[in-house]
Subunit: 332 residues, 2 copies
């Protein structure tokens, strides 16, 4: 058995996978990040609960895979700069291994999700794939030639900090107009707040706290002002994904993260942006195929699944490549 664990800013989720990577158990808890010790304790409890549900004894677990925000050193399991979890530098892998007496593999959450999205594609998987997370921030996990690509310093795919509007809003990183400041959840909420403060005629005037979710709900119900915001997000994101295709020449883009909860309505705005670019340019027509874009399955935790796949790879239950090898076969 294998464990896939997603430690997020608000909740921690564990799944138990059998050697064929089918889910056998599942548990969710609120993340308690008061101290690293609390975080580890919560992770262990979530894992034990999922194991109990799966009827799996501790000795049956070959490996634990963990997906967590921030900079991760997979060789050592050290996590740095996971700001939302109050971790500046913490040996998470070692701490979990000690608590569980099971080997652990830790990876950045978006990269883990990219591995999950790649493996979900099965034998016919695109060998070049980007998983793009649009949530509190924006970043991409990359599978290039069938392998997870991390870059020289583990920073590949940090597309949220590409300067997209040089005179745009101030970003947490200090620069102006980073992609995150235009399309991430907090940016959409801010734009909603701005139209309310400007006194525009929108159902958002009646909303309490204005969240990205509220803006998408209003837009989906036909609110013109909210729709203007979501169209703008679609246009900007469409252009960013266009740039991503030109940069990496990926065959598939899987979108996940909180903002994608708006589902097809979210995706359609990006497709419209691509349709406009395709109408203008032969090159865009050749490269931006609408069917490249898809959303993660609703209700499926791609981070936890991908972390489980990474655990399976590390335990040599499966090959790191979905191609050219028996798919999901236990080899040890």
């Amino acid at each position: 058995m294998l464990i896939g664990l997603d430690i997020g800013g608000t909740k921690t989720e564990a799944i138990v996978l059998d050697p064929a990577l089918h889910a056998r158990g599942h548990a969710t808890r609120s993340t308690n990040s008061r101290t690293p010790a609390h975080l580890v304790e919560g992770a262990v409890q979530t894992i034990l609960e999922a194991m109990e549900q799966a009827g799996a004894a501790r000795g049956q677990v070959a490996m634990v895979g963990v997906g967590i925000p921030g900079q991760v050193e997979p060789e050592t399991g050290e996590v740095r700069l996971a700001v939302n979890l109050h971790l500046t530098a913490f040996p998470l892998g070692a701490a979990l291994e000690e608590a569980l007496q099971v080997p652990c593999r830790v990876e950045n959450d978006v990269r883990a999700a990219a591995v999950g999205a790649y493996r979900s594609g099965g034998r016919g998987a695109a060998r070049n794939l980007a998983y793009v997370n649009v949530g509190t921030g924006v970043s991409a996990g990359l599978i290039l030639e069938g392998k997870l690509y991390r870059g020289a310093h583990g920073m590949a795919g940090e597309i949220g900090h590409i300067i997209t509007e040089p005179d745009g809003p101030l970003c947490n990183c200090g620069a102006r107009g980073c992609l995150e400041t235009l399309v991430a959840g907090p940016a959409i909420a801010r734009m909603g707040q701005e139209v309310v403060e400007a006194g525009e005629e929108t159902v958002l005037q009646n909303a309490g706290t204005i969240t990205a979710e509220a803006v998408y709900e209003a837009a989906a119900s036909g609110d013109g002002v909210a729709l203007r915001i979501t169209e703008q997000v679609g246009t900007t994101l469409g252009r960013a994904l266009h740039a991503l295709v030109m940069s990496y020449d990926v065959e598939r883009i899987v979108l996940g993260g909180g903002v994608t909860g708006a589902g097809e309505f979210f995706l359609e705005a990006i497709r419209r942006a691509w349709a406009r670019e395709r109408a203008q340019s032969a090159l865009a027509r050749a490269l931006l195929r609408p069917e490249m874009l898809c959303l993660t399955e609703q209700g499926r935790n791609m981070v936890a699944y991908g972390a489980g796949v990474l655990a399976a790879e590390a335990a040599r239950y499966v090959s790191a490549s979905a191609d050219g090898s028996p798919f999901l076969t236990q080899t040890s």
Copy 2:
């Protein structure tokens, strides 16, 4: 012996490399692209001339590597969409093999140059490197984890068509504001033409045909109007290279192509743009290190050299990776 051949829009250049990848002969001719037959004939003559200079007989040449603009299918040696050479689809590899009776390997010119730049780095080479060509167009050749990365359809690194200014100038591809329309040679010439037509006070008023070279010369001599153009190019290119670093997390960016002929003066404008971004953002400070940027050696044809390296790899004279293997050792 190995041949490296650069077939460019204006000239064709061949170098002869010994097994240690040192140049032993060299020849240059104007490219005659009237018909594919003329192109092949010119290539063959250039190669024979370089071989004669090196004192190399035909039987001593193990492999010919070719770098050429356009979309190249390295498996078959077919070249597509090399617009400046009037090739829409041509089996260049097969044609050269027949004419020379030596096996050929064909690659896109910018990718060949990336291989050359990587190999030039020697044992201590950055394993993640981008070669960025700024000439008639803009594109990047990518070495990721020590290997040439081509993407799913051989289109990786086509950064010249990333939409950078949505309301910018019309691009040949049909879109508006592609990076090429802002920083490539013809774009710089166009901006020079515009300031002349606007009657601005600049030495460019006395220039005959306004080229990118003329604009850089004027700027380097202190012409304020020309300087405004070259600074703008530096800012836009600096931002594009910033995006490239965020996307791929490369350790080194090597700049080549016609526009980089302006040398350090060209590079300094990019460095100033990076300095401004570094001043704003801690993330930019961590990732954009000025020493990452460099120019190809003046007078060195990186396309021809890289094509020769690809030939050496194909002939198994050297390993495809500069690391972890004897550097430049003849293995067959």
